[in-house]
Amino acid sequence: MAQMELAGNTYEVDENGFMQETDLWSEDVARAYAAKENVSELTEEHWTALKYLRTYYLNNGICPMIRRLIKETGYNLRKLYDLFPEGPAQSACKWAGVPKPTGCV
């Protein structure tokens, strides 16, 4: 298993850098991921999306559909890509500390 250092701690991650133990996530972890993608500050808008993603995942065992994310946050896809450089699946899910979406998605 690969490991990654985030905000001073070492975490188990998959080969794409997604956390494997979602319970260990903290806001500092999100900031550390963001810094790796050259986003130096997490704004209110970042947190709205990240918290929605994370709560939805914890309740449903899966990340929300993009359409749902857009509707719930009010941010369109372009806006989401502005906030999260690699997009909702590759960046936002990762920063929120939830596993990479798998299967035919």
């Binding site: 998959d14 794409n16 359409r67 369109n76 896809l77 035919c104």
Partner: protein, 539 residues
């Protein structure tokens, strides 16, 4: 480094060194505006840490992080022994009820003419890299069978002078190499003797899975295992699936002005429709289109929210007979319990092949429920007269991708074309097409595999010939100002096109989007206030 004239027994030498390396400038070139290598995303190399942890001795690509470096010689020898015992099982009728006969025929009858090589899109795209010849993998396997599983094999192999050693290098490379094939069977179609290299590849994968416990985690642990436990390899639970579709019913009703309602768990309905759950999540226009069409045509139909009932994928087809049978039976039992007259398979190619042919022998007695392709199902509706169409609404360039499992492997060629010729005034074929199509590059389970640098390989190499074909089909209207639609009636193909289009910026540079067949049908329906298909992102 790429070696000119890779020899068969190179596979058993220097276990730590890759046999070849992918370099973008050696691949078959793409047409403008995609011809500048410096503008393409590069081919990711393994990090030092990954190179240390993960077996990467084939081509520097890693398809699955499930294969860690063995700790010692003893562990290596254990795997070699397991491979040997698995190989013998493949050749016995007690242990290989599914494919023994075609396996033996394909082992025995290759005339070494190499005709199949030029049929393989991966080999062609790679710049004719020897490692990817369909016959390379097969001939290594064939010689191992000859040497280790046939009478006097070792003696004859020694006398031949170029025998292949069954060792850790061979076993670990064959494992990776069995995931450098789309199982598209274009090679089998071109073979004058009927040898099926894709079948040999798939039997190798089966050996690794059923005997060594090696399979890409996207296919096994997070694939069939998750599907049987939770309901879907996506992790989509029954309650979440229903909740999502309810959300989509409302969302699309609002957007289209139609009253969209998707029925669930209706006992005694005529039709059980099984989508792929990935369509619900990633391409929701597809399941919603089916709901609109079935309701408008007055079909008695339902979806199922039983575990497995809302996800028709069956990754067992790609790597494991036992998992294949488990998933197929799960689907059939749900249909039996609902008392439906038939099962209609959504736009998913491998679901078609698994359910219509390969699993057929496991579905006996009351599980032998008629199964129909969505291609013929939709054709009957479109030409059935209950829905009014205005083909002028689809007046944009459309081309059709043939999913290998639906078209070449099942012969369902014309129904989807009759629909497109009727509803899409600017429909044009790719060259070649129909049963001669090229695979999208995601076939054989590859489209769901994305670990380490595998996506680089499947986009740049496996999907390359298809990408060229798509661009050529629209060469008369190349610019992004002309909105174009690539109809790909298969979820795995759509996922692969999504990756290709993202890599190269195809929507921005060429104005092409990929979607299914049902969406084009809805888009042509009269009474829709605004177009159903949009080239804009969802807002």
């Amino acid at each position: 480094m790429k070696k000119p004239g890779l020899k068969l027994n190179d596979i058993s030498r220097n276990a730590a060194e890759p046999l070849t390396e992918i370099n973008l400038d050696e691949l078959t070139p793409l047409p403008p505006p995609y011809d500048k290598i410096e503008e393409q995303p590069g081919f990711k190399r393994l990090t030092e840490d990954q190179a240390e942890r993960l077996v990467h001795n084939l081509d520097g690509v890693v398809s699955t992080a499930a294969l860690p470096e063995p700790q010692d010689k003893e562990e290596e020898e254990k795997y070699v022994g397991q491979f040997l015992s698995g190989m013998k099982k493949l050749l016995s009728k007690e242990n290989n009820w599914t494919f023994l006969q075609p396996l033996l025929l394909s082992l025995d009858y290759c005339a070494q003419c190499q005709t199949c090589n030029d049929a393989c899109p991966i080999y062609l795209a790679s710049g004719r890299n020897d490692l990817y010849r369909p016959t390379y993998r097969s001939e290594v396997f064939r010689r191992l069978v000859e040497k280790y599983a046939r009478p006097l094999g070792r003696l004859r192999a020694r006398l031949s002078g170029d025998d292949i050693e069954l060792n850790w290098a061979t076993v670990s490379r064959l494992y990776e190499l069995s995931y450098r094939c789309n199982l598209c069977r274009r090679c089998a179609q071109s073979c004058p003797m009927g040898v099926d290299n894709a079948l040999l590849t798939r039997e190798l994968r089966k050996l690794f899975s059923q005997e060594l416990g090696w399979a890409p985690k996207e296919l096994h642990e997070k694939g069939t295992v998750l599907q049987l436990a939770v309901g879907s390899p996506t992790g989509l639970r029954p309650d979440v699936a229903k909740d999502n579709l309810q959300f989509l019913d409302e969302d699309f009703s609002e957007a289209t002005g139609l009253d969209i309602h998707t029925p669930w768990d209706k006992k005694g309905a005529d039709v059980l429709l099984i989508h792929s759950a990935g369509d619900i999540i990633s391409f929701p226009e597809s399941p919603i289109s089916f709901s609109v069409i079935c309701n408008a045509a007055g079909i008695s139909w339902t979806l199922s929210s039983e575990i497995g009932g809302y996800d028709g994928v069956n990754y067992g087809l790609f790597y494991d007979d036992v998992q294949l049978a488990r998933v197929a039976r799960c689907h059939a039992e749900i249909a039996r319990d609902l008392g439906v007259k038939k099962i209609v398979m959504g736009e998913c190619g491998h679901q078609h092949k698994a359910f219509m042919t390969v699993a057929d022998r496991t579905l006996t007695g009351d599980l032998n429920i008629p199964r129909e392709s969505s291609m013929t199902f939709l054709e009957n509706i479109v030409f059935g007269g209950k829905i009014k169409f205005d083909p002028a609404k689809n007046d944009f360039p459309v081309t059709l991708h043939d999913p290998c499992n639906v078209v070449r492997n099942l012969g369902i060629v014309e129904p989807q074309r009759r629909i497109l010729r009727y509803l899409c005034p600017q429909f044009r074929e790719m060259t070649p097409h129909g049963v001669d199509n090229y695979c999208c590059g995601g076939g054989g389970g590859l489209s769901v595999m994305s670990d380490v640098n595998f996506t680089d390989w499947k986009v740049h190499v496996a999907g390359r010939m298809k990408f060229q074909q798509v661009l050529a089909a629209f060469a008369d209207r190349p610019g992004p100002e002309v909105k174009k639609y690539l109809c790909a009636p298969c979820l795995n193909c759509k996922l692969q096109f999504r990756d290709i289009f993202e890599y190269y910026g195809v929507k921005e540079k060429s104005g092409i989007i990929a979607g299914g067949l049902a969406e084009l049908i809805v888009n042509a329906m009269t009474g829709l206030k605004k177009p159903f298909i949009s080239w804009e992102d969802p807002a």
